[in-house]
Every structure is written in structure tokens, then in C-alpha cells.
Symmetry: C2
Subunit: 466 residues, 2 copies
């Protein structure tokens, strides 16, 4: 069916206010935050903004009957091309289907529509002393539906785990229009082991099995206190060694971040007033809990880090905490400006390796950067081995573009070689799909078979994940 006809049919079924067919509108949906889709944007055939499960079902039935691809999209903050219609299709923009259906305080859970923005949800939950712990860097923009589809996490994953840990149930519209509820049809149970775990299969499935239209999330009591410790190391290997000793002391910080020398330099160049000490690595620990616990753990971390670090500081004062954290919070922006004519690109940006291999991995990435003559800024969630690498190039220079793609490929292979994965939290999408076979071997075949169970016609976000 051609673009014009698709638009007309959707308009007939859903009305003008829910369907976009204008070329300029469609351009906006032709990319996400990935480098790939910035290089090669692909506008969809049409965009639908559903306001109900029935709207989604209407689109899916139409698409299924006519063999048209459907690509669910949240806020488009993804870095994998996952929400772009690379093989043509209808984009379902779920960002305005964003109701909080119910905050059920007495059962420690919340039911939301997929478009609710993460920060907005936590703002509402805070009124009831609750929170939804995962905290992606894009919290102010990203949708909870996108987080579920990508099994997102962020700074606090080390203690609080990824999104999947909080998803108790989902409503999903399948390609043929069937609507299923995972985690129990009418269940509000916290613990439930009945049936195969379709909930956790859907989490992280990147929209290739169906469209998530309702989400039941477990919430946690919001901790009353937090503190930040910063430790500065002259030797890169001392950073993971310190992390391990903190664990050994029985402490699980809510976040453990690393800036390596590349990130420290970038930050100091970008904002000299922050005045990060020049070093091989800076670790930032966040601990949360009740006030005496935070005090105790902060002091213990200070003591442990002092064995190896040149400088350690521990703060619970909000102003000082913000200052200590500032280096980390501007790293992404700083990376974007290490070259006047350059931009940070989102590619090869999310490998995850065993903690014991973090230092070796950072050294190897530095070497790869040298090999290709490309500056790479490294930072990330060292507590769970998740390293964010930011290659900086001039994207107008085709030679640099070609080189950076080779560099990114080598970073991905390095991650697998180190006993890690090409993606710790951002997902696979289009950009890392070529590694699926290498990462999963024979299991990959069974993933493809499961896909067929839900999507026999292959119309659900094709060309992604597997």
C-alpha cells in the first residue's frame, strides 16, 4: 500500500487529530538519538498518536491485514534506531498516551500508560513517599513505555536493578490485534509465579513482539537520605579494586560512577571552574537509605577508598553533593565539545563488561581511539561494568565517519571478547543487531522462533533486536 493510501486509511479509522501524514511532521520521526539515524534518517509512512488501547488495536488490525510494519515509539531518546521505521511502516507515537491510571499506595504499585515521562511519574509518586527506582540519564524526557521496551536502567541499577525488576504486569496489543495481560488478568499481587513469565519476556523486547499499552509497576519506599563520596586515583586499576572492597564491606551503594582520564580532561576543558583534579580515574559513590546508615556507609567508603586514592571526599550537604557530582553530570555535554569542529556521536556507547575487566577495557578503548585517530571520552556505571564511550568526530567529514564506524565495531567486539555485551542498558535496535548471533549463538534461533509466535507476519518493528 502506498504512503498516500496508508495515510487515508488511517485517517478514516482514527480521525485527523490522531494521524500525522504531513512531510514535515514525518521528518521529525525519521531519526532518534542514534548516530545511524542521524546519518540516514527514514521517515515513516504515517504516524499515529493513539489515546487508548483500542486505538492501538485499530492500527494493528489494519497493519496486520495489509502487511504493513508498525514501529512503537516513546520519546525518541533511544540511541539504537529502535523506534525508527527503517524498513518503512507506521510509527505509533505513544508519548501522548500518558495517563497515570492509578497510584495504589496501599499495594505499593502504580498503573500507567506507556507515554508517561519518567521524571513526571517519580514526581507524582514522591507525594506518597514512593519511587520507581530506575533512573536513566534521559529521565526528564524518556517515557516509561520506552524504558520497559528497552529494559532501561541508569545510575542506580547497581543497587536497584533494571526496569524489569519493577514490572509486575503489562497489557500488550499483539500484531494480530489480540490484547493480552501479562502477570495475571486482574492481579495486583506483588509476588506471582503462575504461568510462563511473559512479563519479563516483553520487557526489553524493543517492540518486536507487540505494543505495550498499560504497565503495572512495583514502587519502593523512597529513602530519606543520601550522600556522595568522590575518590581520585592516580592508577586506573585502583578504581575497580576499590569498588570491590566496598562490596566486600557489605555495602551496596545506590550508584558507582567512573570518569577516566579522557572524561576528566573533557570536563576540565568544558568547565574549568569545576576544577576536577587531573587523574587516571575519579569514582563517585552515591549511597542512600536512612540517615545513620548513609553516614555509616559514607564514612566506610571514605576509609576504604583512602587506602588507594590520592583524595577522597564525603558529603551529605546538598550543595556540596551537587558540586561533587557536577563533573559527572556535565560529562556528556563536555564530551560533545572536546573538539571545536566535532560532535559526540551515539554509537558504541553502551558496552557492559565484568567489573574485573573494566580497567583493561578502558585502556583498550583508549588504544583503539589512538589507532583510528579519534578522541573517545569514557565514563559510566562502573558498579555494574557498564561503560559509556563517546567518540568525538566531525560528522561532516566522510573519512571520519567511515573511521568511527570501524572504531565502534572494534569496541563492540572488544566488549564480547572481555566477557561482556555490546549493550548494558541502551538496547540493540538496528545498530547492534549484527552482534546478536555472536552474543547468543544457538539461543538466537529460539529468540527468532518466539518472535514468530507473536508476530507471524513479521510486521512488528522488523529489523530490530534479533
Amino acid at each position: 500500500m502506498d504512503r498516500k493510501k496508508v495515510g487515508e486509511e488511517l485517517l478514516k479509522r482514527l480521525g485527523r487529530e490522531k494521524v500525522l501524514t504531513d512531510e514535515l511532521d514525518l521528518m521529525y520521526y525519521s531519526y532518534d538519538s542514534s548516530f545511524l539515524t542521524k546519518l540516514k534518517p527514514v521517515p515513516p509512512l504515517a504516524v499515529v498518536l493513539p489515546k487508548s488501547t483500542e486505538d492501538v488495536q485499530t492500527v494493528m488490525r489494519f497493519a496486520y491485514e495489509n502487511g504493513i510494519n508498525v514501529i512503537p515509539r516513546g520519546a525518541g531518546t533511544g540511541e539504537t534506531g529502535g523506534c525508527v521505521a527503517i524498513n518503512d511502516g507506521i510509527v505509533l507515537d505513544l508519548s501522548t498516551f500518558d495517563e497515570i491510571v492509578e497510584i495504589d499506595v496501599s499495594n505499593m504499585q502504580v498503573i500507567v500508560r506507556p507515554g508517561i515521562v519518567h521524571a513526571q511519574l517519580n514526581k507524582e509518586l514522591a507525594k506518597y513517599n514512593l519511587f520507581f527506582p530506575p533512573d536513566p540519564g534521559s529521565s526528564q524526557m524518556c517515557t516509561v513505555g520506552g524504558m520497559v521496551a528497552n529494559n532501561a536502567s541508569g545510575l542506580r541499577a547497581v543497587k536497584y536493578g533494571c526496569t524489569e525488576q519493577y514490572v509486575l504486569g503489562l497489557e500488550v496489543v499483539l500484531p494480530n490485534g489480540d490484547i493480552i495481560t501479562t502477570g495475571g488478568l486482574k492481579s495486583k499481587a506483588i509476588k506471582n509465579v503462575s504461568g510462563l513469565n511473559l512479563t519479563k519476556l516483553m520487557v526489553g523486547s524493543e517492540g518486536i513482539l507487540g505494543v505495550i499499552t498499560k504497565i503495572r509497576l512495583r514502587c519502593w519506599p523512597k529513602p530519606k537520605a543520601r550522600g556522595i563520596a568522590m575518590a581520585v586515583f592516580d592508577n586506573l586499576d585502583d578504581a575497580p579494586a576499590t569498588v570491590l572492597e566496598v562490596y566486600q564491606a557489605g555495602i551496596m551503594p545506590s550508584g558507582i560512577e567512573i570518569l577516566d582520564s579522557s572524561a576528566i580532561e573533557a570536563v576540565n576543558q568544558f568547565k574549568p571552574e569545576i576544577g576536577l583534579p587531573a587523574a587516571e580515574a575519579i569514582l563517585l559513590f552515591e549511597v542512600d537509605g536512612n540517615p545513620p546508615s548513609v553516614e555509616y556507609e559514607g564514612n566506610t567508603i571514605k576509609e576504604i577508598a583512602s587506602r588507594r586514592a590520592r583524595l577522597v571526599e564525603w558529603a551529605t550537604d546538598p550543595k556540596r553533593m551537587a558540586e561533587l557530582w557536577e563533573g559527572r553530570s556535565v560529562t556528556a555535554a563536555a564530551a560533545a565539545r572536546v573538539r571545536k569542529d566535532g560532535s559526540r556521536i551515539f554509537a558504541g556507547e553502551d558496552i557492559s563488561v565484568p567489573l574485573s575487566k573494566v580497567a583493561d577495557t578502558l585502556r583498550a578503548i583508549r588504544k583503539l581511539g589512538d589507532k583510528y585517530g579519534i578522541k573517545v571520552v569514557n565514563y559510566g556505571h562502573i558498579g555494574d561494568g557498564n561503560v559509556h564511550s563517546a567518540p568525538v568526530i566531525n560528522p561532516e567529514n566522510p573519512e571520519e565517519v567511515e573511521k568511527v564506524q570501524k572504531l565502534v565495531h572494534e569496541i563492540h567486539l572488544l566488549a564480547i571478547e572481555m566477557g561482556g555485551t555490546t549493550t548494558g542498558e541502551h538496547g540493540v535496535g538496528v545498530v547492534r543487531r549484527e552482534y546478536a548471533q555472536l552474543e547468543h549463538g544457538l539461543a538466537h534461533k529460539y529468540m527468532q522462533e518466539i518472535k514468530k509466535v507473536f508476530d507471524p507476519k513479521g510486521i512488528m518493528n522488523p529489523g530490530k533486536l534479533i
Copy 2:
């Protein structure tokens, strides 16, 4: 293929020390801890005790070629008939395939074979200040493989979640003999969002998709301190209200247990020297963490509980903690003895309801017990709504057996009506399979389709879960 031939073929392939065909040996495998299999034990065609993944593969290939059912079994502590060959078949007893392959302290994970006993694993991990948090009541006997297959949990699930939260990857032998590795072929990453999440699909799949032969688990730093608070209530509704206020104070206890009046009576009859106060409900809170945190949370819980409770006590002294906990620890044994001519049966023993419905549910179960003239002792993990009900009958009396089955059915329907599930942690097996359709609706059909992907011939633990 007849029993004799199956035994001969297995002996030929695996040798005498790995195959049991003797009638007496087979009797031992004809039941688990469920009431159903005690009533109707079914011996398997033969038992294999594999010592390697290859042994499992050998059995699966033979079974697949000949259309023979295979039923994996751990320690047989399950209460659902899940590991019994109810439709004939070969039982794979994995309890002696029990090696700890590697404790990887620097990467906070452990790799084990399925037969390792839970308590044994934690004993080994404790040497490295690590632990695997889920803690089923059967810890001293149950295997980690069984825990993964059932997504087991226990007292600490309220804070630490269920087994699934710790499973990073699995090696699984599929019915056709294929060996897959979930969570990344060579991965030791903690965080990994590559591909569909087969790991979590396998967890809790009760052996209907394949045989788990290797398990990679995340470990946590072992907390240094714990404490126990006991609160005694004259009004049942005050118990969940207190739990909610504790959460609202930002506290996540590691366990919150309830004994209702039936359990208190049973304990006092069984061991009068414990001297539990007669009451409508007793709550036990366990908190863990660092010493000042435990002290702070215990005192906060004491203060909160005192608003409603007749009596509250808080202890960190190990001797006093054990005394406070003793009522809970003997409840199961006490339930077994509330009638001289009776036994506690394991049926209807694992419903899970929303916290806001726990009091209503306990009252309703009491009424159902009265209706059928059967004593039911109730206790459980109130923190996540998981209620363990122990009907006590004379199992030699056919009339009581018939009545208790009706009672159990009503308890299961009650759980669903209350917005809960028939099983919070024990699993479905044979005994709760009839509720799968009611609990999952259309999703149930897709569970069956996924089963077919892995097990097209339907030989993998048939008649269980879905």
C-alpha cells in the same frame, strides 16, 4: 516403549551408576511434598542421575527420538507435583549434579550446577562476604536448580525479590538435545539487554521448556547486621496497616511475617513454653544492613507498630532474636499437630493477594474452614501478600479428603477474586494448572505457543504449569 526397554536403553547409554530401574528406587520418585502425589503417587519409567550436561543431552536425545516424557527433579521438596511423572516418563534427578563451578568474587557472581543445595551454596559464599538472597523455607534441602525452575523466594522476597532477580544466565538442554546459553554465550556481565530475555522466560518455567544444567547467579554483599521486631495486635486489620506505615517511613524490611490467630493457637498448643500472646495477629519484622541502620530501622518500626499494637519488642541480641522468631519457625510443625489424628496437607498453601486484601483474605479463609469443618492454620509473608494456609485433616478419612479438596479449590478462587494469584512462590505444577486459563486469559494461549517452540513433541514435563 515399555518400562523394561526404556531402562535397558538408558543403561546402555549411561551405565549402571547413573540409571535407576529398581521398583523400590522408583517408588521414591513417585511423589513430592504435594498432597496430590501423596494421595496418588506415580513411579517414573526410570530415573537418571546425570553428572554432566552431556548426560542430560543423551537422555533428551533418546527421549526425543522415542517420544518419551522427561521430568526434571531437584530435591523433591516442591508442593505442586511438578517433578513427578504423572503422565509416565523418565525422571532426571539433578540433585547429584551439584558442583559449584566457580565463585567469581571479583565479579560478584557464582556459577553452579543445578543440584547444589541452597544452604550449602550460601555457606560457601559467606566465606567471601557474599550471599544469594532468596531464602526458601526448604533452604537446607532444596536445590538451586529447583529454585530457578520454580522462581522460588521465601522470607526475604519483600526486600530482595525472587530468584529471577539473581539469575544472570543459564545453560539449558532443550528437548531436541540442543544446548543453549541464555544471557550471553560467554558473558559475565551483570547488566545485559542484548536479545530477548530467555533467561527470565526459563526462570519459573517448571521444567516444561528444557533442562537447566548450569546457572550463573548474581551475588550480593552480605549485610553485617540484622534485628527482629515482634508486634502483637488485637485487631487483624492493624497488621497490614502497620506494614504500610513502615513502608511509608522509607523502610524496606528484609522480611515481614504474619501469624494469624489460627497460627498463634497452633504454636501455643504445640509448644506452650514459647508463650506467644493470644492475639488476632502477630507481625515479625526482620531488618538487615549495617549496624546503625538496623538500630535506626528497628526503633522506627517499634515506634510505628506501637501506635496500634498491644505489645512490641525489638531485639538485636542473637538469643532474643531467635526467641522472638521461634513462633514463626515452628508454625509449620505446629500446624501439623493441631489435631492428634490429623496431618497438615500441602494444598492451597501458597496464595498471594494484594497487601490491602490480606486481612479480608484471612477472614475469608477462616470462614471457608468453618464451612467445611476443617481447621486451617494461616501464616506467611505479609510483606508481599503471600499467605501460606495449612489445612489439617485426617488423610485416611475419604470424606475429609473430599471436603478438603473443595476447600482448597475455594481458597484458590478466593485468591483470584481478591486480585491475587493461586501461587506466590511454590509454583503451579499439576495442582494449580486448572487455574491457568482463569488467571491469564488469552495470554495463556501464547504461553502454550511458546512451549511448542521449545518442545514441539510435548515431551518436556507435560501436564504442568500451563
